[in-house]
Symmetry: C2
Subunit: 365 residues, 2 copies
């Protein structure tokens, strides 16, 4: 299947839209949430568990997979889909976010970024071309160009420099993709590369970045550098500016977002794709998600609570186990507790997004 984005319906109350994103490994109903498979596995889950909770795409991290097991090993395995036995779409990030988080362990120049592996101290050098080569080895359905993500707060000078570099690297990446003979591992198509918008929390920088990236004509766009510590209203303000500039007929991925309320708000501002470690990480720390927010399963009040987390939920966990049981095995440090909570939390996000899509489709004209 060739890459294509199709909008089925636009809301007339907000910028929200419902769509279908076609990729070589399958179709994604948008707005969509992507569970995160950082190291080539969604933590505590198997691919069939992901199928069951309704995941249509996962996100994997270039930085982590580059360091271990390495992209050449994944190429030899026949690509990331085959390596991890996941035959649905995979989006990979550029590794930029993780590298820039390394702070003292990385050195940036216009050519790229040098960094030291947190695992074995080995030196690595990421350039726009290298990042594409790595993701092509993975066989990602959607890949990201190297960008510079700044922390929050960030002074305007640094944010501007990062923006300029991000635009420059986007151009280099796009050119490299068109002039090289890159083909995805799994089929014979030119990989799909999104452009990334940066600009910190400065309105004029967000506007400038969105304009510069949109001008390059990508098949989809990512909005980076948000959900890094700024208040939600600032995040929404930046997103609103950016989605007002990006072409309407291309998908928009709000990277690293987020909590349910972030996602629901961002959909109304025109975002289509989301990824976040929240549902999986909270599960491992013993919290379950509902529309009321997060709740710790460890609480004493659940000791004899012989009801499921959510009686209305259709996940394996809610259909088969009580809060009292999950609480017991969580306190007993059983790995199965983390697994059961992960199933529920991811399914909760999937059902939340399905409801949003359904509500939008049924919105009166």
């Amino acid at each position: 299947m060739k890459y294509k984005f199709e909008i089925l319906k636009k809301s007339n109350k907000s910028k929200a839209r419902v769509g279908k994103l076609y990729t070589p490994h399958g179709t994604i109903n948008t707005p969509a949430f992507m569970p995160i498979g950082t190291q080539g596995t969604v933590k505590t889950m198997t691919p069939r568990d992901l199928d069951e909770i309704g995941a249509e795409i996962i996100l994997s991290n270039t930085y982590h997979l580059l360091l271990r097991p390495g992209h050449e090993l994944i190429r030899e395995a026949g690509g990331l889909h085959k390596f991890m036995n996941w035959d649905k779409p995979i989006l990979t990030d550029s590794g930029g976010f993780q590298v820039f988080s390394l702070a003292h362990m990385r050195k940036i120049s216009d050519e790229g970024v040098e960094f030291t592996s947190h695992i074995d101290g080995a030196k690595h050098f990421l350039t726009p071309a290298k990042v594409l080569e790595i993701q092509t080895a993975f066989g990602s359905d959607i890949m990201m160009p190297l960008d510079e993500c700044v922390p929050f707060p960030c002074d305007k000078k640094q944010a501007t420099e990062a923006l300029i570099r991000t635009t420059r690297w986007a151009k280099e990446s796009n050119l490299k993709l068109q002039t090289s003979n890159f083909k995805t591992t799994s089929n014979n198509q030119i990989p799909t590369l999104f452009g990334i918008v940066q600009g910190s929390t400065y309105k004029d920088l967000r506007k400038r970045s969105a304009e510069e990236i949109a001008a390059q004509g990508f098949p989809g766009y990512a909005i980076g550098g948000l959900s890094v510590g700024e208040p939600q209203n600032e995040m929404f303000e930046m997103l609103d500016i950016v989605t007002g500039i990006l072409p309407d007929d291309k998908p928009r991925h709000l990277m690293g977002v987020g909590y349910a309320s972030d996602i629901l708000g961002a959909i109304k501002l025109g975002a289509d794709l989301f990824d976040c470690v929240i549902p999986t990480r909270l599960a491992r720390h013993g919290s379950f998600l509902t529309y009321e927010g997060k709740t710790s399963i460890r609480l004493a009040k659940f000791e004899k609570d012989f009801t499921p987390i959510d009686p209305a939920c259709d996940c394996y966990t809610c259909k088969n186990f009580t809060k009292a049981y999950i609480r017991h095995i969580f306190w007993a440090r059983e790995i199965t507790a983390m697994h059961l909570l992960t199933i529920h939390n991811l399914r909760f996000f999937m059902r939340m997004l399905a409801k949003v899509r359904n509500d939008l489709l049924n919105e009166e004209e």
Copy 2:
């Protein structure tokens, strides 16, 4: 279904037999291996995973469940089957083995054993009656009486005292069961209680214990105090003595055994039921089992080994993942690696036992 043991065939080359053990929660084909669900979950597994690998019965530990979450909570939950969502047979031990391992934290008398919880320091007192009451609250299909398990090596005086106490407690337990109105949580039957044979590694003590316990007429027998450090040949020698005395028409559970070679040897000496943490524990430490023994998935030689652990194995792990992938996620400390190895190791034991049963059934008369 009422408790019943049926022997389908006896080998004419050894003491091995193939049978069916009927219990209130289903039928077990013997010889059988019981995965261990210490705290009410088989580590890293869900009940459907256990169904898939072909488990027909699991063993749970009275000691652990008594301390957390407590047998009264499990009673309120409707019994252990319902609490953990496992509708097939459960055998529970008496807690004796764990309590006697506590060494300095327990005090023994003819009435029972007082011990201190390793979790919160609370004092507990286990008596033959108490141990039955706890297991009745669990609703176990097969339960064990309080016994005294001695360490290896053990001087003859101590071993004799433990034997005498084990016989006395067995009598008390049997009497209590017949005179009380105990009914399993899940149905209205008198629970099935096995007798336990002790005697350390002394031939005369094993003989005496087997005779004294057999004389009490239990519906099944457990052989305890083996696989505690003694050489395999000594274990086999003791087992041979005991199975020569125990009634032929009742099942025999060789407790806590073992490695594949232990199990295969013990079957030839007339043992029918086995339980051991080996397949699950080794999995969590990164080892997989084959007929060649245990092998660490971490080995460098598996780095680019894109073949399954065992191409002939029908488990989810072997049908879907390569050694290179499992090695990668194990080194990356992903919980999923432990889960995938547990599936394989338990399935390996299940297939091994199925082969034994099949070979015995097809043995020429």
